[in-house]
Symmetry: C2
Subunit: 663 residues, 2 copies
């Protein structure tokens, strides 16, 4: 679910040392009045392209007030190891960048926000575009300003792998998927006898287990754009940012870029590239592979960047690399392709893809029939695709949505699932890969609605899509074995952040519905011994009947359900029973514009007053480390505990994408 861009940024640590982390920051990752991006602690793959942004801030008022005139004569040098600090123009053989100037404002805290007393900051800035460092080692990037003040960014270029281990990479992302959700999905989909599961999740059976830390560069909770940037570029960034560090200028397109794993794979190897998601295809997790903007909401430019490099969109700066038109793009989001206000320049963007040689398809029947020779764009719905439960169990919910990807106002009732999209994508990538040095493929396949349904507290639909992801991983392994590519393929399964979900007991939904007061309804919750056993794996007189495929619940609405929740909620009601009419809308805005219980949601339930600001209509992301599961060549590196950015380096090393030869 998309977060609106937060335009106010706020103070972290001033020139004087301030004590606390704060809600609003002047500029993330810029602790002083001089800012260097990439900032301190950045690590690079050898030869990875990146921009540099330099800023000098002069606050007009507030806790760091100056004379308001930013130093325009700042200097910048690069020191390699213990060598001299060499002027950056000379070091990078770059010409002197143009001086830029702008003003921005922010609130220092919530009191200032309420009082409408912003702090105004004048800025002098420069930018270098599309540089790289090919020699492994340490670098100190030093910005000198205000007559001797200095901001030093220590950079490391990691020693790259020289031997390519994996021919292919299949990278699964369960958006928002935590271990607590995997545990709950196992509970409802796999039969247990006397405490012993009779079958397991595919994730449980992967060869290598790891944990990754998901925090942002400038806040401890991330969104999916920011974490996609970490996973795909090896760089921590800021909420809402895709493939860039966030500078303080107004335009969302001039922020300093970093090269993504997909761009590197195209530039270095020229392999086949696939992007699959159950979200709209301009959403953050797919977008992060090819896009460069500090505002994930720039959907039209995001779909444009699938075809063209960023220079095409903004000729004022050079960005020579791109995804070069992925061989496969499958997902939702027809609103960026149907000619109209969501599409690039209002044009029919399906035609733009067709002009580049794409086969364009719109439903599962066409997907199954599609050949493997051509580049293929599959857009299967307006907005996010339908959830597994609605597609497989409660199909009536597909009706009346008017979400046909053709834009003809009919319903998209013939949507493929993640499994169908992923298997077909493998076949196309396999057929389209080059021979020789350029062989192999890279695919990202995202189960997007784990996150989207957790946001609306629709735990059942979230777990349904988690189980679909697990089923997709299982089917992909089987398919790769069948086509002889399993031993050549690194498979990585992880998430981009959590939601604070956990199961804490069971609920007797019949008893709950029969009680007349909120406090009595809560009595239907059973904890500890009274949580009972999973009612999702039994149905009257039968073993699991597999009517919806293996490893899914055989009933979704047992009398005795699991009871689960977050610590972070809007006001809402709980019944702990599935919402049979489609995804939940737990909270709606009242006459004062703040969010409270949606009167139409869970009417038989009891009310839980929320813990979130009343302008939040949904649940929010959480901090917990998320799990990583990996099989195949290079997978051993994914064991243990590490930072999210390390995922990029581990994949890049499996593909030997780092180069020390300067090319």
């Amino acid at each position: 679910m998309r977060r609106s861009a937060t335009t106010a940024t706020a103070l972290l640590l001033g020139a004087a040392t301030l004590a606390s982390a704060q809600t609003y920051q002047r500029l993330g990752a810029c602790p002083k009045l001089g800012c260097v991006f990439p900032p301190d602690q950045t690590e690079f793959l050898a030869g990875q392209l990146f921009d540099i942004r330099l800023e000098v801030h002069a606050p007009v008022n507030g806790s760091e007030a100056t004379n308001g005139v930013p130093d325009e004569k700042f200097t910048f040098c690069i020191q390699n190891g213990k060598g001299p600090c060499e002027d950056a123009n000379k070091f990078f053989k770059a010409k002197e960048p143009t001086l830029e100037k702008w003003t921005f404002q922010y609130y220092e805290d919530l009191f200032a926000r309420d009082a409408k007393t912003p702090t105004v900051v004048n800025v002098a800035a420069k930018a270098y575009r599309a540089l790289s460092l090919s020699q492994p080692g340490t670098y100190a990037a030093k910005l000198t300003y205000n007559g001797g003040g200095q901001t030093v960014a220590n950079w490391v270029v990691r020693k790259p792998a020289t031997h390519r281990k994996a021919k292919n990479v299949l990278f699964f992302i369960g958006d928002g998927m935590t271990q607590a959700m995997i545990t709950a999905a196992r509970l409802i989909a796999h039969k247990s006898i006397n405490g012993k599961y009779q079958s397991l999740m595919q994730m449980d059976q992967m060869d290598n287990l790891g944990h990754q830390m998901t925090h942002s560069i400038d806040s401890f909770i991330t969104d999916s754009a920011n974490s996609a940037t970490a996973l795909y570029t090896g760089k921590k960034s800021t909420v809402n940012a895709l493939g860039v560090y966030v500078d303080s200028s107004k335009t969302p397109f001039d922020d300093p870029k970093v090269e993504t794993i997909a761009e590197l794979f195209r530039r270095r190897i020229g392999g086949a590239l696939g992007i699959v998601s159950t979200a709209y295809i301009a959403d953050a997790t797919p977008a992060g592979l090819c896009s460069h903007t500090r505002d994930r909401g720039q959907y039209a430019s995001i779909v444009t960047e699938y075809l063209y490099n960023a220079t095409f969109l903004n000729s004022t700066f050079a960005w020579p690399t791109s995804c070069q038109g992925p061989d496969v793009i499958f997902g939702g989001g027809a609103e960026q392709f149907i000619a109209g206000k969501g599409s690039p320049n209002g044009t029919d963007f399906y035609k733009a893809f067709q002009a580049q040689g794409y086969n364009v398809i719109h439903n599962n029947t066409e997907l199954q029939a599609a050949g493997t020779k051509d580049k293929t764009l599959g857009i299967f719905s307006v907005s996010n695709m339908a959830k597994w439960i609605d597609r497989n169990v409660m199909r009536d919910n597909l009706k009346g949505m008017k979400d046909s990807p053709t834009g003809d106002g009919t319903d998209a009732t013939d949507q493929p699932g993640l499994k169908e999209m992923t298997i077909k994508a493998i076949d196309i990538l396999q057929a389209r890969q080059k021979k020789g040095k350029g062989e192999g493929w890279f695919m990202m396949s995202e189960a997007a609605s784990i996150d989207k349904m957790m946001h609306v507290l629709d735990y059942d639909r979230a777990l349904g899509d988690l189980l679909e992801l697990d089923d997709t991983i299982r089917a992909s392994i089987d398919h790769l074995k069948k086509i002889g590519e399993y031993k050549n393929t690194l498979i990585v399964v992880t998430a981009d952040h959590g939601h604070g979900f956990d199961v804490f007991g069971g609920a007797d939904t019949k008893y709950l519905a029969a009680q007349s007061t909120d406090r009595k309804k809560r009595d239907a919750v059973g904890v500890y011994a009274n949580s009972g056993l999973s009612g999702y794996t039994t149905s009257p007189g039968s073993l699991p009947n597999n009517q919806t495929g293996p490893n899914f619940p055989v009933q979704w609405n047992p009398r005795y359900t699991y009871a689960a929740g977050f610590g972070a909620n809007p006001d809402h009601r709980e019944t702990y029973a599935i919402n049979t009419k489609g995804p939940r809308v737990p909270a709606t805005a009242g006459t004062d514009g703040t969010y409270g219980v949606n009167p139409a949601d869970n009417q038989a339930g009891f009310t839980v007053e929320g813990t979130l600001p009343t302008d939040e209509s949904q649940g929010v992301h959480s901090l917990t480390d998320v799990s990583v599961f990996a099989n195949g060549p290079g997978a051993e590196a994914f064991k243990g505990v590490y930072n999210s950015i390390d995922i990029f380096f581990k994949i890049a090393d499996a593909l030997a994408l780092g180069r020390t030869d300067g090319h």
Copy 2:
């Protein structure tokens, strides 16, 4: 925090197949009217001692009503592999057990409970005591009753390791500790610059990472007794049960026992044994090593079982093995030792330990001064020991507790921490181990108050004790290296269950306190980008000052705190600021006996209405898989995803405790 025993048990699956898991069960792990314990799916270590309980149920009324007369002529046989089913008396060379009869009752659901219409069940039963199976393979234990009805329990005796890999085992349990808590502890105690931690938790740096599933045999949420039984015996059991399966008889001492890892270590190897906990020492996690009762509240018998075997307590059945007086017992819980209503038969139980040769100590000064030659009992407080924050940061909270372990009514202000207890325990075990075949030691060291403080929603104190655990692991590794035992010692760190805790943002505590309505107070919570950065690792003008030891926060009450919570709560208030006066009491009973907001707790906070039954005063356990970290000989086996019972087998294999020779 102890759960009161739930005396009502309830129906799982009747003789007729019932569809749903239910809140109340007739008898856990007994799906039919004939019950066999150990039940279907049980796995044994070769030669591990266990009891067998057989029951035939005749419900007088309810959904499974019979004539009310249980079949007393039931038969029982054991089939090894594909061989014949041999009468159990002959198979085990046991004499025919005495027939027992009793009646119990339970409610089939919450409606029956409200209507006070219990189902009455008459029972015929027998028990075999202290048997074992030494030949690896599969066994079918078949109970035949009611003229042909049959209940079959399939058992597996695992092939044991023949080679002892580890001389010593150091088993750390962070009670209730989830990965979300470890992540939060890392956030507040370790400094991060631009998204990169400058130091890590010791747990983050362990060599092997695993996940274990914590569910019970008959409910999906466990308590600490039940999970201690799984970890120490390799057998799933029922909430409140220690070292037994739960039968339907009234007495808490006749339930079928299983031999624990500590008893096996004593009986097989004769090694030195240590038990350390920050809880009262009769609490479930330490008790599970040596005790056998279905009611974890039998504290007097639990401390008796540290010294004597279960036969000593109940001569009606034979249980030949025991912990034989552990070499070290360190913890709280003086109320079971000071002569009085909590101690065995009202006697001075310190004297009973002294009579067995124990050195008895009562504070950190005595602990530091204690020699390593004698068995040592260190009881350092009444009830649970003080929390790390109160012991180290807010020491005034130690005053007025009147919790001196001597019972003299003074305050226990000189309590050791988990680290001090663990390091001294290592030294005593090291000094007291035998030479030759009996060499080596086994210690369980528990950080108990992670759980206890999560129960009362006192997240700060829980994380403080989690950090103390991490500090203890680090110090133990250093100490083992110093004394030359690191390479000989298997170190395993895990938890026994979760709490649905996660951090979801930051909070401006100053702003929160300044607002006058609950809805405005919630506006102090910052999510995503506005979560900001950790305020716990910076203090004005300084780097972490380590005044309380490395790897702890340098301030616990920054203005900008983390915001966290559960989905499972009693009514309570949130301020997201530390409780400086000691542990929280979030909810108290009103005049109607149900729990609501404690008027004295968090008065500046906003109210959150709960999701739990109103007879719950605290938070409850959750489902999530918990992490396992392991180093040392045998530690490779702890990688990946497995059941909680597997921890027992992995440790037993590292020590080669399984024996196929029948001895």
